[in-house]
Symmetry: C2
Subunit: 343 residues, 2 copies
DNA sequence: AAAAGTATTCAAAGCGCTTTGGAAGGATAC
DNA sequence: GTATCCTTCCAAAGCGCTTTGAATACTTTT
C-alpha cells in the first residue's frame, strides 16, 4: 500500500535524487517538476520513512525529556499540561520523545547518557532553579536545548521561553495596592524554583515602589497543590493581622485558598482579594470559581507547544526564532479583587 | 569515538553477520565466540544504532501513547504517575514514545494514523469505559496493544493489566461492615470509567452479602481532584443521616474528604471511618495524613512499568507474559478506620 | 563559433544494521 | 570411502532515504 521514494520516483519518471530534493526544498529543482512531485505525493499519500531518514541524515528526529521525579514536582498536574503542549506540536512534525524519569541526584548522568546515545537531537529543561547547574551542563554537552523558564544568576546566554514572572506579580500587586491593600500575602510555589523567586520579587517591587515593605511571614512556599493552598491560607487567616489580599502562584493553590476563605466566612472580593496565576489548566478555569478569579494568565500548554516548535525548528534548520522569549502574562480582572476593606 | 558493527567485527576478526547474531542471541554461534563478542562490546562500549536497526528490521522500537485531552482526565495527576512508570521501563530498553494528544472525538482517527504511520510497534490504552469501542478498533488495526484496566462487556480476549477493583472495594467494605458500619458512602471516580463501576460493584456486593443495600444517594462520581472530594464529603455530612464510613477512589479525593470531615469537627477513625484507594503517588502518602489512612494499595507506577515491559517484550519476541493480569490490591489498615460510632 | 556559465537532472554510494543463502570443515551414517 | 548432517562462519543484498559528483541541455559571454 504505502509507496516509498523509489516507487514514487519511478511513477514520475524521475530519479530518487530529484524527488528527494523536490520534497526537501532544495533550490535546484524546476518549479514545475516540484509541483508534479508534490501532486504525486498528494495522490499516493507518500510519507517518507523516518527510520531511513534517521539513518541517512544522522538526525534522531526526537527530543529528549528528563522527567523529574522529585517531591513537589513529580506527577505534577502542571507537567502533564505542559507535556500536552509539547506533544501537540511534536506530533505535527512526526517527532518522537525519549522520556527519561530521573531522580535529582542522577539527573546529570541522565543528561549525559541521553546526549551520548544519539537518540535525541535536542533536550528541553524545566523547573529552573537559581544558579541552575544544568545549563552549563547542557552547554558542555553541546547538544541543542531550550529552557522553559530561566535560571537566576549564572550565564545569561542560553535559549529560553519564559513568562515575565516578576512583571506578572508586580502588575497584580500594583493593582491590589491601587485598591488600597497594604497587607498582601503570597502563596507561592517551591522556594527553590526560579519562577517562585521572581514572583516574590514582583510583589516586593510593587510594594517598595509605594514605600511599603514585604512582610516575610506573609509568604509561604510549597508544592502547588490544593491542600497546601488551603493550609497556607488558613494560617494567614488565623493571624491577628490577616492579609487583605493574597497572590497565589497557581489556580490549584487558589482552589485551596478560596476554600479556606469561604470556610472563614469571608467574602472574596470585598473582605479579601485574591489574584492567582492561571496556567490555563482546562480542568480549572478561573471563571468557574464561585467568585470568578482575577488572574495573571499565560498558557502552559502554549509554552510547551512553542518550545517544541523552536526545538524542532532548530533541528530542521528552518524557522528563525528569537533565542530568548519573555512572554508577558495578561492581568485579567474578574470579581475576586476589590477595594481593601475599611477604605 | 563510538564504534559500529563493522569496526567491531574487524576488531574481532569476525564477520558482521556473526557479531550481529552473537548479540541477538541466535543459536548458530559458538559459545566461545559469543563470549569474545560480548567482551569486546564491554570494552568498546558498542551500542547498536537504533535508526539502522529500525530500518533493517522494520520495527519502530517505539510505543504509541494517546494522551486523552478530556475533562476529568486531561493533565490528571494520575496520568503523570503512570507515565513515569512506563518511561522508567522503556528507557531501559531504549524505547521511544510517540505522544499523541487527542480529544475524545478524534481518538479513533488518532489511533488509525498512529498505526498506519509505522512509527510505533504497539499501543497502550487506558481510561477504559464500559463497552469501550477502542478495543475492537485496535484489534481491527491489528497492532499489538496492552490495556491498562478492563472494559466491561464486549469481547474478553484482549491483553490487559488491571487491578481487581471489585475485590479491592469489596474487601474494604467488608472490613467496614465487620466494624459495624451500615451507611457507607462512596466518593468515586468518573461514572463512565470502568474502574469506578467495579469499585461500586465491590461495595454493593459486600453490602448485599450482609443483606444490606447500597444507598445510591451515598455515591458520588466526579473527576478525582481534591476539590471534588471535599464537596462530596461536605454534601454527605450535611445530610440528616450522614454515613459513618466513606470509601474514596483515590487518595486525592480522600484529601478533600478528610478536610471536609475535619471542618465538621468530626474525628476520623471514630466518628467516621475512611478508606481510600492508594495509587502510591509519591506526593500523597496515606501514612502522612493527619490520621493515617487505611487504604487499598496498588502502585500506578508499577502498573505503568509492567505494561511497558509487556509491550516491549512482545515487540522483541522475548519474555512470556500472561495475557491478562489481574492484580490484587492490598488492604492496609491504618488509623482512619474504627468501629462504627454508637456500637 | 568556441568557451564558460547556469539550470536541471541522474547514477551510485553510503548511513549501520539484519538476514538470506551459501560454504567450509568436521562428525556421523551407510 | 562416500554420502549426509551438523556446526559455525561469511559475503552480499537490502531496508529507504540523503548526498556526492557528474552529466546533459541550454544560455550567455567573449
Amino acid at each position: 500500500m504505502a509507496v516509498n521514494l523509489k516507487q514514487l520516483a519511478e511513477l514520475l519518471g524521475l530519479s530518487q535524487t530529484t524527488v528527494s530534493r523536490a520534497l526537501n526544498g532544495y533550490p535546484e529543482v524546476n518549479a514545475e517538476t516540484r509541483e508534479r512531485v508534490l501532486q504525486a505525493v498528494r495522490e499516493t499519500g507518500y510519507r517518507p520513512n523516518r527510520a531511513a531518514q534517521r539513518l541517512a541524515t544522522g538526525k534522531a528526529y526526537s527530543i529528549g525529556l528528563v522527567m523529574p521525579i522529585a517531591s513537589g514536582i513529580d506527577s505534577d498536574i502542571h507537567f502533564g499540561e505542559f507535556l500536552a503542549g509539547l506533544a501537540e506540536e511534536a506530533v505535527k512534525h512526526d517527532f518522537h520523545f525519549v522520556l527519561n524519569p530521573s531522580a535529582p541526584d542522577d539527573e546529570e548522568a541522565t543528561f549525559r547518557r541521553l546526549a551520548a546515545s544519539g537518540n535525541v537531537d535536542a533536550l528541553f529543561l524545566a523547573y529552573m532553579r537559581a544558579n541552575d547547574p544544568r545549563i552549563a551542563m547542557l552547554k558542555a554537552l553541546s547538544i541543542p536545548f531550550v529552557v522553559h523558564g530561566r535560571s537566576i544568576g549564572g550565564a545569561k546566554d542560553y535559549p529560553f521561553v519564559d513568562i515575565d514572572n516578576t512583571a506578572a506579580f508586580y502588575d497584580a500587586a500594583r493593582l491590589l495596592i491601587q485598591l488600597g491593600h497594604r497587607r498582601i500575602a503570597l502563596i507561592n510555589g517551591p522556594e527553590y524554583l526560579a519562577f517562585s523567586l521572581r514572583r516574590k520579587k514582583g510583589l516586593t517591587r510593587a510594594l517598595e515602589e509605594k514605600g511599603l515593605r514585604l512582610d516575610e511571614t506573609l509568604v509561604h512556599h510549597s508544592a502547588m497543590t490544593d491542600e497546601y493552598g488551603y493550609r497556607s491560607m488558613q494560617r494567614f487567616l488565623d493571624r491577628p493581622d490577616p492579609p487583605t489580599a493574597v497572590l497565589c502562584s497557581s489556580t490549584v493553590l487558589a482552589l485551596g485558598a478560596v476554600r479556606a476563605i469561604n470556610q472563614a466566612s469571608l467574602v472574596i472580593g470585598s473582605d479579601i482579594s485574591v489574584i492567582a496565576h492561571d496556567d490555563v489548566l482546562p480542568m480549572l478555569k478561573p471563571e468557574n470559581f464561585s467568585v470568578p478569579l482575577t488572574t495573571t494568565r499565560s498558557s502552559l500548554r502554549a509554552a510547551g507547544a512553542r518550545i517544541a516548535k523552536r526545538l524542532i525548528g532548530g533541528i530542521l534548520d528552518r524557522g528563525d526564532y528569537p533565542e530568548q522569549e519573555l512572554w508577558r502574562a495578561e492581568l485579567i480582572v474578574r470579581a475576586s479583587t476589590g477595594p481593601a476593606p475599611g477604605r
